[in-house]
Each structure stands twice: as structure tokens, then as C-alpha cells.
């Protein structure tokens, strides 16, 4: 599970360089997110554009990552591919996160 992190002003962009966030790597993902987001940026954009597939364990791991960041910070999702988007829509979890079609959309929406 490879996560790459870069800072963009007050926003942090975390990119997932894996095709799947599934039961096999959910715990690994959660740990990697915990480390990546410990810097404390108020807004973290999770770039999922390289992720083709997510299952309920992966979805749970993303929710856990958001809860670990705390309610005063926000985890925003960008670049959802069709199956990933479907999982968020069906579970209505897209109402819990800010969801943007592309990373650029997410950056534009949060630009001061």
C-alpha cells in the first residue's frame, strides 16, 4: 500500500498508488493514512484516481481515517473511478465526505 503525500498551502494531498483498497490491505491502508495525516493539515484531499476497486473493508478504513483526523479537520475524496464511486453512492457515504470528480476540482473548491 503506497501513499504519496504533498503539501499544497494549508491543504495536504495524499495519493493512493494502489489499484485496490480491499480486505487484504484495509488495515495497512488505515495505518499508512494515520501516519500520512499526522502532520495535522486541516484539509486532506485523498486522491483515489489510481484505485479501481474498493470493498466494504476499504470503505470502512477510509471512514476510520477520517474519524482519526477528528471532526475539526476534513477528509475530501477526489478522482473516484466508476466502481469506487458506486460503493460510495450505494452506501450513501458520499454524503459524509466531500467528493470531487478530479483532484483539480477538489483543489479549486478549497482554494482560498
Amino acid at each position: 500500500m503506497e501513499l504519496k503525500s504533498q503539501q499544497n498551502g494549508t491543504m495536504q494531498i495524499v495519493s493512493v498508488h494502489s489499484a485496490r483498497i480491499d480486505a487484504a490491505v484495509a488495515i495497512e491502508f488505515k495505518d499508512a493514512m494515520r501516519q500520512a495525516t499526522d502532520s495535522g493539515s486541516p484539509i486532506v484531499i485523498l486522491d483515489l484516481s489510481e484505485v479501481d476497486f474498493i470493498d466494504s473493508s476499504g470503505l470502512g478504513a477510509i471512514v476510520a481515517s477520517m474519524k482519526h483526523m477528528g471532526r475539526d479537520r476534513s477528509l475530501v475524496l477526489a478522482g473516484l473511478t466508476p466502481t469506487v464511486d458506486k460503493v460510495f453512492r450505494l452506501t450513501r457515504m458520499d454524503s459524509v465526505f466531500g467528493v470531487f470528480p478530479t483532484l483539480q476540482n477538489a483543489l479549486d473548491a478549497h482554494a482560498a
Binding site: D22, D55, G60, M66, L90, T91
Partner: protein, 156 residues
């Protein structure tokens, strides 16, 4: 044919049954999903259909890995049969692990999102996704084995 730990037995290259057997484990489930989609290539499924198949099968098999053969128990066999039919794909998944509690599948209600931030659900999505996307979901305990059958309709 041996491939990444999953066994595939195929007949004709067109719509025939697909059989895949694995030993329970999270990575074995990945292999089974990739072998299944490979075997279904002749059906020319679109990204939407493939996503639905992969999601429902992942949830059903992950449940078996997690609950039928829970950590502490010996891993065991999971077998998957996919039968193409006129209106979609019929699936049968068998395992010899622990039975479903009370002999029935969970109802699979949508998770409650009208809760405090710290109570947002991190699980409980699996059966909802299965019941939402699959039709005719039936579970039986037969001769010390779990049998789950369901149907996924295809657009074409």
C-alpha cells in the same frame, strides 16, 4: 489449470459454467475475483457490470473469510460456481466453515448515517451491498456446508 492459487475449470470459451476453488484467505479472494473476471471476458461485460460482479463476490467471499473461517479457526475451502443464464449470472458459493448465526443471512439494512461523527460506521456495509445489487439471495446450511446462491442481472 493452476493460477495464483485459484483453480479454474472451463469448458467451451463461450457462456459455460466457471468453477473456482480457493482456500480461505484475503489474498486468495483477490485471486478468485481476478480469475472470475478473466473467465467472464467472452461475455464482454462493461465496467459497470464488472464492478457489480467484483463487488458482490468480494463481499460474499470476504464474509466467509471473516466469519465462516474466523481467525483462530483453520482456513478452509471456498468454491464458486458461476452459471451464465439468459438474464444474467447465477452464482453458488460454498464453504465448510461455521454456519450463519441463526441460519439466516443478515438483513442488510443501509447503515445509519444520522449519527455523531465519532459513531459513523466503519463496517456493516457488506450485506447491504450484496442485497442491494444481487437478486434471489438464498442461504442454506446443507451437510455441514454453507451454500449461498444469488443472481446478478446483466443489462444486455
Amino acid at each position: 489449470m493452476q493460477h495464483n492459487g485459484a483453480q479454474i475449470v472451463q469448458g467451451q470459451p463461450k457462456a459455460t459454467d466457471v468453477h473456482i476453488s480457493i482456500t480461505s484467505g484475503e489474498y486468495a479472494v483477490r485471486d478468485a475475483l481476478s480469475d472470475l473476471l478473466e473467465a467472464l471476458r467472452p461475455l464482454m461485460l462493461d465496467v459497470e457490470e464488472k464492478g457489480t460482479i467484483e463487488l458482490v463476490l468480494a463481499e460474499a467471499m470476504n464474509n466467509i473469510v471473516e466469519h465462516a473461517y474466523p481467525p483462530g479457526d483453520q482456513p478452509g475451502p471456498i468454491s464458486l460456481t458461476c452459471t451464465p443464464e439468459a438474464d444474467g449470472l447465477r452464482f453458488l458459493i460454498k464453504d465448510t466453515g461455521r454456519p450463519m448465526p441463526n441460519g439466516v443471512t443478515p438483513i442488510g439494512l443501509p447503515v445509519d448515517l444520522n449519527v455523531d461523527f465519532n459513531d459513523l460506521p466503519e463496517g456493516g456495509f457488506g450485506w447491504f451491498l450484496i442485497k442491494d445489487l444481487a437478486k434471489d439471495v438464498v442461504y442454506h446450511r446443507v451437510d455441514e456446508a454453507n451454500q449461498l446462491t444469488f443472481r446478478l442481472s446483466l443489462a444486455s
